[in-house]
Each structure stands twice: as structure tokens, then as C-alpha cells.
């Protein structure tokens, strides 16, 4: 729905090199909660693909299970999609990419889908250097199952049920860098200025590109000190002991600049996240430095955003496996089947 709004905001966009308008990249009306960050990410993907003039039907969108994994339903409806099972999108997209290296692969996942049940598959698709864009819509909760804390939730954050998270959150960006991702970025769903260029860069990168997008869950928000606003309603909801009332909210875009490259994001519950984006001096090609910078920022309770690491000379899995340039799914008998003559020679080796 927020998605629908977004099209109101920018009316007809110009056509791109393929002669397509913005609409050619859109999808059906979203069923996510009004104001859900995930729909903003969808809008950013639409804009990026449009601006890059990618043929919509040459894109494949894959996901696991979760609100974030439902999101692909609502963009790029000319593209085939695969809403697979929880945490297993990485293996599905690996196979898909092996079968046809010519499509553009966008994997969309959630923090639960990726950092909990999917951590093993995520780590290995990173290591495998699959040529794809992997986006995590990171809200620190399990949205679709109603607000349990996820493994990326910050230490000390509160879950809907009120208990405080006493474990450190997994930093997927650092993890990706360490496991060999060749394009790693972080951004915020409401910040199109930053997000769209990152998505475009990632889509143009050959190899594994990862973007960790902070995408607040407006319904099961679990950030520290959730105090401000709608006391009355929250009281009501809590005591009704059925969290079945979800006030309609606006997408969060409001950010207040506080010093160079640093801004606060005010969440619906009044809490804030402080984002520090990398500045000109930052060298995204130094692996160790990148990880240090992320750590340093975290130490100051800030989240580093922007392009964190890139290795432009990256190779992808096809290069590693030395597979042919033609899509494997297009090969026919003539290439695939060695024929009977060869088989008879093989028979002889078993006599």
C-alpha cells in the first residue's frame, strides 16, 4: 500500500532506453503493512532496474519465507519469481544461476530468513561468489510470525513480548566481507538517495553483491526504549493481549542530518537509529579496513552505511567452474548426449 503511495509521489516517469516507463517494472498492490520498509526497498529496486534499462523479463527474483520474502511479489511482475522455503533461497538461486547465466538474479530475504535458519546457506552462497544481488530487508524481527527477536537484533533490544535481547546481533555485512563477498553495502529503506545508486552499482557488479538494508517493521518494532507515542493505543493493545490492532503508518523517510554524513532516523515508536555514511576518504577496496570501520562505528552506537567493500576484479562461480558461456538450459541433445558410439567404447572399458 505504501508502495501504491510511492507511485503517487512520483507521477509518470520518463521512458528508459528500452522505451519502458517506470510502470513496466512495477508489480501488483502490496499486501504488506502500510509503511513497511520492505515496500520502500521494492520501490527502490523498481527505480534501479528502470534506470538501468534492464529488460524486466530477463530478471529473476527469488526469496525465502517472511514478509521480506513476500515483497518480490509486489515488484517486477514481468519477471519470473520463486518464493521458495524458509532460509533456502541461496541454494535455489545457485541452481538457477547455474542453469542460465544470462539472467539477472535478485534474491530478497529477511534477517530471520538469512541470519537464523539461512545462515549456513547464506555463508556458502557468499563463499561461492555467485553472480547475484542479495538483499536482506533487515528489521531485527520475525515480522510474519509476529515479532520474535531475530539474530540481527541489537544487544538490549526489546521484543514485542517485552523481553530484552541479551545476545549480540550478527552483523551480516561484516560476515559477508569476511566470507569473500566482492560487493558489500548497507543502507536504509527510506533513503532512496543512498539506496538506489547502491542497488544500481550492485546490479552492475559481476560476482556476489550484498546489501544489508535496514528496513523497520512498523508493526513489531523492537528498537531500544520503545516508549514515545500512542501510549493509549499501546496500552490498549497490550492489555487486550491480542496484538491485532495495527495503526496505519507512513513509510519512514524523515531523517535529520546531524553533522557530516551522519543522520538520525526517527522510528514510529520514537526511538532512533543513527546512520553514519562512509565519506570520500573511505577506501572500499581494503577488506581489513572495511571490517575495522564497521566495528569502530558500532562501538559508537552508529551504523555505517554506503558502499563498504568492493573488489572490482571479482570472478564469479561460473569462472571458478569454467562453465561454458552459453546458458546450460539452452543446450540440446547434440551437445548434451555423447551418443552410442562413445558408449560402446565405454562398454569395452568394463570388460
Amino acid at each position: 500500500m505504501s508502495y501504491q503511495k510511492s507511485t503517487f509521489r512520483h507521477p509518470k516517469l520518463p521512458v528508459n532506453d528500452l522505451g519502458f516507463t517506470h510502470q513496466a517494472y512495477e508489480g501488483p498492490l502490496s499486501t504488506l503493512c502500510a509503511g513497511c520498509g520492505h515496500d520502500s526497498i521494492g520501490a527502490a529496486i523498481i527505480q534501479s532496474c528502470h534506470e538501468l534499462s534492464l529488460p524486466p523479463h530477463r530478471i529473476a527474483k527469488l526469496s525465502g519465507i517472511g514478509c521480506s520474502s513476500k515483497a518480490p511479489t509486489y515488484f517486477l511482475d514481468k519477471a519470473h519469481g520463486f518464493n521458495s522455503v524458509h532460509g533456502r533461497m541461496p541454494s535455489i538461486v545457485t541452481g538457477a544461476n547455474m542453469a542460465n547465466r544470462d539472467l539477472v538474479y535478485i534474491g530478497m530475504s529477511g534477517d530471520g530468513d538469512t541470519s537464523a535458519i539461512g545462515l549456513g546457506q547464506f555463508s556458502h552462497v557468499v563463499r561461492r561468489r555467485l553472480n547475484m544481488l542479495y538483499i536482506v530487508a533487515n528489521n531485527g524481527v520475525y515480522g510474519l510470525t509476529k515479532g520474535q527477536t531475530s539474530a540481527t537484533a541489537d544487544l538490549g533490544s526489546k521484543s514485542k513480548s517485552g523481553d530484552v535481547n541479551l545476545l549480540e546481533g550478527i552483523d551480516l555485512a561484516s560476515l559477508a566481507i569476511q566470507l569473500g563477498a566482492t560487493f558489500v553495502a548497507r543502507s536504509f529503506s527510506g533513503d532512496k538517495q543512498e539506496l538506489v545508486p547502491l542497488i544500481k552499482a550492485a546490479l552492475s557488479h559481476r560476482g556476489f553483491a550484498f546489501i544489508d538494508v535496514i528496513s523497520p517493521c512498523v508493526t513489531f518494532n523492537n528498537h531500544v526504549g520503545s516508549t514515545k507515542s500512542y501510549d493509549y493505543i499501546r496500552d490498549h493493545i497490550e492489555t487486550a493481549s491480542v496484538t491485532d490492532f495495527i495503526p496505519v503508518k507512513e513509510e519512514i523517510i524523515s531523517t535529520c542530518e546531524i553533522g557530516s554524513n551522519c543522520r538520525d532516523i526517527c522510528l514510529h515508536d520514537g526511538s532512533t537509529i543513527r546512520l553514519q555514511s562512509v565519506d570520500e576518504s573511505y577506501d572500499p577496496q581494503d577488506r581489513a579496513a572495511a571490517m575495522a570501520a564497521i566495528e569502530a562505528c558500532k562501538a559508537e552506537d552508529k551504523t555505517l552505511t554506503g558502499l563498504l567493500y568492493i573488489d572490482p576484479s571479482a570472478e564469479d562461480l561460473h569462472a571458478v567452474l569454467n562453465t561454458t558461456d552459453k546458458p546450460l538450459n539452452g543446450l540440446t541433445e547434440s551437445v548434451l548426449c555423447p551418443g552410442n558410439e562413445v558408449l560402446q567404447v565405454i562398454n569395452n572399458s568394463f570388460r
Binding site: 529488460p55 524486466p56 523479463h57 529473476a60 527469488l62 518480490p72 511479489t73 514481468k78 519477471a79 519470473h80 519469481g81 520463486f82 518464493n83 521458495s84 522455503v85 533456502r88 541461496p90 541454494s91 535455489i92 538461486v93 545457485t94 541452481g95 538457477a96 544461476n97 547455474m98 542453469a99 542460465n100 544470462d102 539472467l103 549456513g120 546457506q121 555463508s123 556458502h124 561461492r128 562461480l317 561460473h318 567452474l321 569454467n322 562453465t323 561454458t324 558461456d325 546450460l328 538450459n329 539452452g330 543446450l331 540440446t332 541433445e333 551437445v335 548434451l336 548426449c337 555423447p338 551418443g339 552410442n340 562413445v342 558408449l343 560402446q344 565405454i346 562398454n347 568394463f350 570388460r351
Partner: protein, 616 residues
Amino acid sequence: MQQLKSINEFVIRFANVNGTGSASANLMFAKSIFRMGIPVSPRNEFPSNIQGMPTFYEVRISEKGYLGRRGGGADIVVAMNSQSLARDMQSLLPGGYFLYDCTKPLPPGLIREDVNLIGVPISEICLREYQDPRQRQLFKNVIYIGALAALLDIEFEVLQGLVKDQFKGKEKLIIPNIQALQLGHKYASAHFECPLGIRVTRSDKINNHIMIDGNTAAGLGAVYGGASVCGWYPITPSTSVVENFIQYANRLRIDPASGMKNFAAVQAEDELAAIGITIGAAWNGARAFTATSGPGISLMTEFLGLAYFAEVPIVLINVQRAGPSTGMPTRTQQPDVLACAYASHGDTKQVMLFPSTPKECFDQTAEAFDLAERLQTPVIVMSDLDLGMNDHLCEALDWDDDTRYNRGKVLNAEQLEEMGKFGRYLDSDGDGICYRTYPGTHPTKGAFFTRGTSRDHYAVYTELGDIYVDNVDRLNRKFDTAATLLPKPVIRTRDKGSKVGLIYYGTTSAAATETVDLLAAKGISLDSCCIKSFPFSEEVTQFIDSHERLYVVEQNRDGQMRTLLINELETNPKKLTKVVHYDGLPISARFISGSIEAHQQHNSAGKRSTLKVASR
């Protein structure tokens, strides 16, 4: 003292320590029999261990062509493992021959009076002939093969030929191996009256058959079937299916111009990823497969449910091993029939094929890709350890070069262009099978969202009950169609036809055919039905209906195929007698015929309908 006598009909059992190089030597022995034109079936009984544990290799030589395990004791035992001497001595039949390394004398305690001892000072010979301790170890094996050649009258040129073939390109290895053979041969000829009462003599029963293991054949089947993507994770006994696929693809699937590979085999991090990769590739229009065993099947359960419900055509080769859980990883069984037939939560069903020989591993694996794509559902090839990892004598592989892959109902750009609205789950042909599209086919038509959730004819998510019901009923319709497309059972009826029927599948077939002969000789005549696929085709129902009593022979504890028969065909269980063998060794004709004989004697349908093995 009694001495067993037989020509071209006997069982020889090798007892070795694993990791000492015996496997290749023993294979050379079996191959030599094969090359003398005599049907032979070697079977490896190896431990789940890499080095230092007892391992056995039993070879049945049968000019009559009975290739199942014979069961019972061996006629000849080659005892090369001091740890297992006692057990090995016991495994010999009265009057049998016990070949051992007499460098150290046998512990008097375990010597049997009723067997013939043949001592060859193998260690001593090696000590004398070789310096490198590793060579001493390695050539022991070759030496006892040489001795056997003399004792059993194996043509020495045949052995020489085998050595030459084996070491083609490494000529410097040929001479020493032949010398080692001669050392054994000389010693035996000099010290024993050769040949023994038990011996071989050239025959002509091999025709153009080959000796190959099922996993190699399956790997080749995947190459010929057009598989271009494979996701896999190692597990015994399925690993060599993929290893063979890769090995052959590396030779036969290289682009001549670029030298690049026309296939992609991805070693995954586990079985969930292995089948996920396979599903992703199949969804995207490549022929894709994976292979696994035991625990891997359990781990693939969730994804098998997705592939069934989202209708993605994959091929899964299940090389079954003894379960449950880790069970006996290096022993054979057919214990996953139920787990595969109804894999995953919810109402599900899976297509299965049951190969009996390496030739069928090749044919069915290749055909599985056509079936999967035509039916748009997973096809599981149910092999087992005995079939997959042992060399079996079987017909030569062949391929009809006119074969065209049947990719099933797939719409291309033109077809989409011409048609009206595309509905991924519209059953326009009434056979339960709908039309699919590959991603990226057409700029504006044919795109849809594949999902594991309930959806309507246009692949749109729905929670409406009647639409859900319509969809899952169609899936059942699709399985009715499957029953008509799958390989038919092999049915053998006596001239006049019998009232008693034998039902079996997979590796039981060698023992089953021998059983029919054994019982016929005893006046019990049996018709037989070898099941090749699930869901069952009409012929299976007819076979059951046309017999009064049926014995369902399988290699698992609970009679899982029998469960499928009574459940899917609404058969009265009382009519089907369980004959189950599940100690981890291949089933034998002795066991089956013995069980049936016993049951036929006081044949009363009232009696409990299970005949099971208490041990080998």
C-alpha cells in the same frame, strides 16, 4: 578327507584388512573369471572405516548365471587378516579350502578338521623379494591372486592381460605386478596338486555383457539423459554416482572450441543445499539431479515437498543403505521406500523407479529426466548399496541415437505470443499436467510466481478452500497419469500360470529368479512380478488380482513395498505375505525359497503373514 568338487559353480570369500590394497587385487580376480567367459558376481562387505578394519569380498562364480548372493558358507576362503581368522575359518563349508599366509603357523585352537588348509608363506616371500615395506604390503595381494590362478586353473594370460590394461600408460608397473603373480603361481604349483577339486574352466556365457557397478552406470545415465546441473554432497554409498557423472562429463561434455564445460556440478554445503540447487536449476529449465543416501533423504524432505507442490521436475538418485539414522552406512537395504513415497509433511506423493541391474541404473536414470519433465514432479531412482557399489554382470549399455529428449509441456515465446492469458496451473489437457514456462522466455507473457503456498490457476496466492481442493485433486490426477507413463513391471508366468505369485523389486531380482528355479525343482511353481515403478501401473493390480497368494519379498524390516501395495491398490493385506530380509547383506535365493517353502507347507492364510530373517 572330504574335498568339495565343482567346476564354475562355487563361492570364494576373501578376508582382508581394509586399506591394504586388497580391493583392486580381488577385483582383478573377479575380472579374470569374467574374461574366461564365466558369469561371476563379486560383493564387497566393507567397514565404515578407512584403514585397519576387517573387510570381506565374496565372489560367486556361477556358470548357470545365478548372480544373487548364494548365502551359506563359502567353498574357498582366502584368509589374509589375522584379526578375523577364527570367524573366517567358521565361514568355510565342510570340505572347503582355506588359503592363508603360513609365514606364521595357524593358532591350533581354530583349526578345523573338516576343511582343507592351503598355507602359502606370503609374508616370507614378500620379505625376501621386496625392500620397500609398502611394496611388501601391496604385493601380498597380488601374490595370493597368483596362487589362486594355479589352484583354480585361471588362465595366466588372462591375468597378464588384466595387469596390462590396468596399468596402461604406466608400463613400469606392469612387470613387477606380473612377477608378483608368478611368485604366487609358482609357489602354489610347486607345493599343491593343482588345480583343486574346485576350479574354473573357460566358458561362453558372457556374450557381450559387461561388469560395471550401478553408480557408474547411473552417473553415465545422467550424462546421456542430458543432465547439465548437479548439486551434491558426499555420502556413502551415493557419492560415486556424482563422481562418475563428473568424471565422464569432464571427458564428454567439454566445448571443443573453448574447452569450457557444458555442465556445472556444485559441491554443496549439505543435502538441503544440494537439492535446493537441483530445484533451482530445474525451475530454470536445465535438467538437474542430485544423489544421496539415508540421512540425506531425511534432510531433503522439506524440499521434496516443495518440488512436489510447486511441480518442479528434478531427479534424485537414492542409493539406499541400512537405516535408520546413521544405521549401517556400508551395508545394503531397501529401507527408504515409504520415506520416499510420501516424503514431506502434508498430503504428498513421489514418483519412484526401481532399477535391478547397472543397465537399468543407466536406462532409468536417463529416462528419469524425461519422466520428471513430462510429469513436472521429482522422480526418485531407488538404487541401493549392493547395486550401486558392487560390480555386476549385465548387458552392455546402449543408446538409440534417434532419441530426442522429451522436455514435457513447456511454452516458448511464439506459443505464448499466440495464446491468450497464460495460466501456469490450468489443466487444459485434463491429465493433471499443466504448461510451464522458463524464466526470461517472453517480454510480457508467461511470467509467474512459483511458490510452496496454495495458489489459483494463475499462480496467485489463495486461501480459498475450493481452489485449494481443485489444485490438490489435480495433483492426484497427475499421479494417475504417471501410472500410465512409468516403466511397466516385468511379469513372468509359468506356461499354465500359477496360483502363487512372487512380487519383488530392485536388487532382489537376481535372487528372485534363482528362487523361482529352486522352488520349481521342488514342485512349487511361482509366477513373478518385478515392480519397476511407483505409482503402480495397471499390470501390478492385475497380477495381484490373478493370484491367490502373493509373497512380497523385500530388503527392509517392515515390508514397506507391501504397505504401498495394500494402501495404493486397496488390496487385502491377508493376501500378501511379507518376506523380509534386513541384516544388511544382500538377500539370497536360499533365504527366499526357504521362507516360502516353510510357509507353503502349513499354508494357512491365518498364519502370521511375515517371514523374516534372524540373521544372514
